[in-house]
């Protein structure tokens, strides 16, 4: 008695709907890229001119005008040194203010702290909305409110940071182990004690990491806010660009570079020590 060969079984990594889903996404990406390529307006002459322009730019940037660091652009204006201090102050203050503003929304968005779904949703919406408005846009708003200066810059970065800090913090809060929380509520602890002795010790490392990470980003942002009047190094940058003093621009860029590098070094060291 001969048994016919069994129907051939092929092993596949993915099920049919999974494969279709992937193909759909791949083709959507391709479509988006092709459509953008076809419609983008690029002037070829400008593109061919780019190397010459870059060469021209670097020639004008060299030699860097080091003296500009301590002499103001015109009498009464800030020196680059003062602008640098302003930028640092803006970065510190905006991070602190951002944490303060983000805290309530993070608590409201965390499902294991706030048991009402509609409140979670509302808090999440605030977090997405503040994040989707870029720092420069916030800066425009606050410059219109407070007038140009470091205050407007501080508020701008702080409001933009709400979304980032709030989202990360609420995720960290939700990941907290429920054991100690249940133990606390079983002992009759009020909400404040649950937060302080249940959640806080668990999210502390994450909190420090989030704040350091955001501070690092905010140092970078504080350098550009001046372009729209938010104070700091951006003001010096803008003033020099407006009059095509590229050797001064080069100096400001180098100062920004040094500041960013230093901030990254400090935040990396602190992260290693604290966590």
């Amino acid at each position: 008695m001969t048994q016919g060969p069994k129907p051939l079984q092929t092993w596949q990594h993915l099920t049919t709907p999974q494969r279709r889903g992937r193909w759909l996404i791949y083709s959507l990406c391709l479509l988006a890229i092709v459509q953008s390529m076809r419609s983008v307006e690029i002037i070829p002459d400008f593109l061919w001119d780019a190397p010459t322009q870059m060469k021209d730019l670097f020639e004008r940037m060299w030699p860097v005008e080091w003296a500009f660091y301590l002499t103001p652009q015109n009498t009464g204006a800030q020196t680059v040194h003062q602008a640098l201090l302003d930028s640092l102050a803006v970065a510190f203050l905006s991070t602190a203010l951002g944490v303060l503003l983000a805290l309530p929304f993070a608590l409201l968005a965390a499902r294991n702290i706030t048991p009402w779904l509609w409140l979670n949703g509302a808090a999440r919406f605030v977090l997405v909305a503040t994040r989707s408005i870029s720092t420069l846009l916030w800066a425009l708003f606050f410059v219109a409110m407070f007038g140009p200066g470091a205050l407007a810059g501080t508020c701008a970065i702080a409001f933009h940071s709400i979304g980032f800090i709030g989202k990360m913090l609420s995720e960290a809060l939700e990941e907290a182990d429920s054991g100690s929380l249940e133990a606390l509520s079983a002992a009759g602890a009020p909400v404040s004690s649950r937060l302080l002795y249940g959640h806080w010790p668990q999210v502390k490392p994450a909190f420090v990491a989030i704040v350091l990470f955001r501070w690092d980003i905010n140092v970078r942002e504080s350098a550009i806010l001046g372009l729209v009047g938010g104070g700091g190094l951006g003001m010096a940058l803008n003033a020099s660009i407006d009059v095509f003093e590229w050797d001064r621009v080069a100096l400001v860029l180098l100062v920004i570079l040094a500041m960013v590098m230093l901030a990254e070094w400090v935040s990396t060291r602190l992260r290693q020590r604290v966590i």
């Binding site: 593109l47 322009q53 994040r131 420069l136 846009l137 970078r220 372009l227 920004i256």
Partner: protein, 286 residues
């Protein structure tokens, strides 16, 4: 009993035990304080407070200014409502350019970051290669996209291209780092197993590395598209195309209702992007 003690002390002394709490310490007896901050942490908190105070002294915040600001904000908000979506052509053009910048910069960023991330992965490449790749990636990340955009506007003129190039640089800085870190965290067991079959380097990549990192890469790319979408609304302020230029212009002619209309459109775009991101993660999540 007595004779064994010196021997014990000797043994214990040689292994350098940590100092033990004794009952003689006043605060400890029956009430240990597990949540107290250490000395270093206390110093840290004071230092942070000091820095914040110094920073506050630099931004000249005063009550009068705050009240004045609130008044200004009131007027501002009043003029923003109701939002206006005209001139429609300008709005659509800005949105379209923003999308173009985000899509093309992300695509170019991914294409450049894949080899960059691979070259920077310390578990696959020799040290000299990773050093160069890491330096390039760090350089791309150092400057804010807006500053990079200023340089590119000078190089290729006003318009979308400068924005695309600026955000491509930013994407390489971000994706390159994440890709390299993901590749470094790969399980080497599978790599060795594939290598043991005599596979070529390309096969090792295709069958041992990519399957392990694909899902994470997709997550990173989705995030980068999202962040490029947000940044592409900014680079326009220095003339690099997209919504930013239109926004800035509207601001300067005090067209605050049109500004609100544009901001609402940007928010809708970003929420849409986030929904797409969730969908992509679901499809690839298995």
């Amino acid at each position: 009993m007595q004779t064994s003690t010196p021997f014990m002390v000797d043994v214990l002394g040689s292994i350098d035990l940590p100092p033990q709490h004794t009952m003689s310490e006043a605060s400890l007896p029956n009430h240990v304080q597990p949540f107290r901050m250490g000395r270093a942490q206390q110093w840290g908190v004071w230092l942070i407070l000091l820095i914040l105070l110094w920073s506050l002294s630099r931004v000249d915040l005063s009550w009068a200014r705050f009240v004045l600001g609130l008044e200004g904000a009131g007027k501002f908000v009043e003029r923003m409502f109701p939002p206006v979506f005209d001139p429609r052509a300008e709005l659509v053009k800005g949105l379209w350019e923003t999308l173009q910048i985000a899509v093309l910069a992300s695509a170019a960023g991914v294409v450049l970051s894949l080899p960059m991330g691979l070259l920077a992965a310390r578990n696959l490449m020799p040290a000299s290669v990773t050093w160069v790749a890491r330096f390039i990636i760090t350089l791309c990340r150092t400057f804010h996209p807006v500053i990079v955009a200023i340089v590119f506007v000078k190089a290729v003129g006003f318009g979308v291209l400068a924005g695309i190039l600026a955000l491509t640089v930013a994407s390489v800085g971000f994706l390159g780092k994440l890709f390299a870190e993901a590749i470094e965290e790969v399980s080497m067991k599978q790599v060795e197993a594939v290598r043991a079959t005599g596979a070529s380097f390309a096969n090792v990549l295709g069958f041992a590395i990519i399957p392990q990192v694909l899902f994470r890469f997709i997550g990173f790319i989705a995030y980068e598209v999202d962040s490029n979408l947000r940044n592409s609304t900014m680079v326009g302020i220095v003339g690099a195309g997209g919504m930013g230029g239109t926004l800035f212009a509207a601001f300067q002619r005090f067209d605050y209702d049109f500004v609100l209309g544009m901001v609402l459109c940007i928010m809708a775009l970003i929420v849409l992007g986030e929904a797409l991101q969730l969908l992509v993660k679901k499809v690839f999540g298995q």
